[in-house]
Symmetry: none
Subunit: 266 residues, 2 copies
Amino acid sequence: MSDTQSDSRKPVFAAERRQRILDLVRANGAVSLRELAQAVRSSEVTVRRDLRALESEGLLNRHHGGATLPGELSREAGYTHKVSLESAEKSAIADLACALVEEGDAIVVGPGTTTQEFARRLTRHSELTVVTNSLLVAQVLAGSPRVEVMLTGGTLRGSILALVGSAAEGSLAGLRVRRAFISGNGLSAERGLSTPNVQVAGVDRALAAAAEEVVVLADHTKVGVDTMVQTVPPERIDHLVTDEGAPGDVLDELAGRGVRLHVATI
Amino acid sequence: MSDTQSDSRKPVFAAERRQRILDLVRANGAVSLRELAQAVRSSEVTVRRDLRALESEGLLNRHHGGATLPGELSREAGYTHKVSLESAEKSAIADLACALVEEGDAIVVGPGTTTQEFARRLTRHSELTVVTNSLLVAQVLAGSPRVEVMLTGGTLRGSILALVGSAAEGSLAGLRVRRAFISGNGLSAERGLSTPNVQVAGVDRALAAAAEEVVVLADHTKVGVDTMVQTVPPERIDHLVTDEGAPGDVLDELAGRGVRLHVATI
DNA sequence: AGATATCCGATCAAATTCGTTCTGATTCGG
DNA sequence: CCGAATCAGAACGAATTTGATCGGATATCT
């Protein structure tokens, strides 16, 4: 949507800064105040003033910690902690992962900011069926008439806006799709994909079990990291999409276990 | 201010400078005053005068610190403002409906802007279990740790951000809660609640079937209106929450069929 | 339910920018 | 050749913008 020229330069005027803020909010749905201040290179006070002005014009909704689009499904809770600072990496990973999706596919997409970015790029595909337990992924794809979105049932976990529990796992039981695109909190060569939450782990296992092939989307901060609960063993991972910041030894070992690597350059 | 006659006498150099300023602004989209003064080898005062003249002709927009193209910083980016229209009515209805919820309840909430407003008020309750097929309702309640949210599975209907289809209906089959709060597109005394979409109708029926009592939330624009598919027959409706704009005869007839009325004053 | 941490709002101070007035310079007409 | 007029530059006061800090409010966690 950035049809304007590149955004590196700029004699940042007040009006332009506001426009930029508006663009950022529109692109991400919800942005924290701190992130906005960092993005436009201004103090938080100034951004707060701009937000107030934009809100008075009805262009966005402002609440504690940041701003969201008016009337849009967006996370009100959680963006103070989970801001997409490595958006460049995530973006590149998402781009690369798109190559693993074919027209007419049926795929599973797990929760996470990276997978959400990935989902945003799926709107171009046609005749796609996406199964997910993430409300954010579902919302991103809601506007695409050519993509059919199926949401698992289950109990809502507010912090990540994803569905968990036995109902979520059960609704995946009878399903079989070609590929699952998931993104845990840690990925190591020995223990595979892992996540710190037991409930989330259960659903992640079910997501992986519903697919013939498992594709893991993980930026470099997650590679080589182990968290509490193992979800997908390394043997079960078929593809890994990451960025060039990932440690080489871990990647090598993963490759030795049959994982095909896709490293995005930023 | 006697410089309004811009072209009676044309000092070629001045006109050329203005043209150059205009070109610079057009090329870069936004240029600071200092840069302009430097580029045309004139003082900032002169450039300021030129900018004022150019602005009066509508050729550019002047801001603090420089100038931009007229259309560049427009904020009408085609975003559809779907802000709630009868927000006052919806708000009052939602307030009144809250009285029908008790602590420790398990309830069903259907899709719709009114029910979303209703859900927003449930965050105060404790030990509440909410079953819904609406992503908007789920998102509103996501931040409340004391409210457990269960989402039905199903196919996502993007236009209303709700889950429909056999999976949605099936996940409601084994459920039994105390009250269902739903809001269709039309409500008449003869045919009860109705909606224009067949799929949505199916889920609405399942939502109603899962509850002992059905509470309909409908503002006055929907009362007395029939749409295509009937979802809940009038005998099955236990409560109606509406606002004082609703036609009295329809309300009377509904009351005659056993519907308890709750009319909100705005 | 209470304690803690974070965020918001308001007031104040510093810096930049704008508007106005004045002065010097160049050009055109008589 | 001289006067008038207009344009360009300079200076000063006013207005706007930005950033910092403090008290109060709000959300989160135990």
